[in-house]
Amino acid sequence: MRRRAGVGAIQKQRLEQEKYKDKGNEIQENQFEQMTKQLEVFRVNLEEFAAKHKNEIRKNAQFRKQFQDMCASIGVDPLASGKGFWSVLGIGDFYYELAVQTVEVCLATNYKNGGLISLNELRTRLIKARGQGKQHQEISQDDLICAARKLKIFGNGFSVVSVGKGQYMVQSVPGELSMDHTAVIQQVANSSQAYTSISILRDQLNWERDRAQKALGHLLKEGLVWIDLQNPTEKLYYFPSLFTACINSSN
């Protein structure tokens, strides 16, 4: 049957489209309402779960990470609020405590590493400093990264720098590290030595001499590296934060 494109037909079409649109909205709204309800249920379950496993979360680093991931997937940040449910759990406190202790270790070692410390060394010192109680011992790398991130609210004073191969450095002095500076740190961290030089950077990172010189000059100026002028072939630049004897010393 042939459809007649009269005004009436157009109006009818429009009406039907409106109906479909309304229905679509209705369905959308329903879904939204359902999802909200579901999330709410989920959130309540999560809180119950957290309360039930409070001790586990405090003591077990892997459990803690999984819990964090679970929260993140539904958009809940257990560290966000200082009051209310989450701080009652003591989870907020745990990271707050870690963050404060991180600052302490960074300040205490600044004199010898210039404000750059490897996450491994930080973790070792923290574990030593936190004492022997069972709930103190297990701190994972993730815990530290999480705590250090919280410190970002104080500005650029603290930052966590990835140097590849699952390793991180924590920088605790103001003054930002550019990508080139980070690249230098990464290069040294991944080598088996604590030093680098212009020719090493040229060789490993394919940089021009000027670029290498500039990066090293900046790191020297910021007090993150020491210069060694007694190497027969060229100047060497050392990171005390990557020099084993320095890392292991207590002074």
Partner: protein
Amino acid sequence: MSEEQYEWPWQYSFPPFFTLQPHAETRARQISVWRNLVLDYFRGTKQYTLDIREASRQSLFCNTAINRKLDTEFILAILSDLQRTQNAAPIDKQRHRWEIYWHTLEEWANMIYNYVSSSGATNSVLTLFELTQGDDVQSEEFCGLDTDVLIKVLRVLENERKCELMLFDDQQGVKFF
């Protein structure tokens, strides 16, 4: 202890430690560590003098394991800083030879005077040898104190009228009051 027994700090095996650093804060810390190292090393090995011209032969200033050593300029910088805090003094005009006071002259003076008073030796004459090498002083910190340094120390006490030096060709002694 002997030189071989001395325990070095981590910085001693850190090659750039032997290069005077351009970064002000780093350099200040570096000099501070060197100061303490010099004083502690001299105290541990019971040495009192140093000749800059011989310094490169001393393991203190020369770590052969990493092939690094302090140059004269750097050594002088450290000694000058020690002089500033009365922990060292040049004993010749060209500043080649130095005395190292791991206790300042004042500190030595107090130490010796306290010992003399508490052992009731005031008003008697002691030879310089007895004072620093005698059986009675073997466990004292100032045992083995270099004679030239000792005389300087006693002059400090003399100025405070706490003793009188008697230096003759054949005998060197001191009377405490």
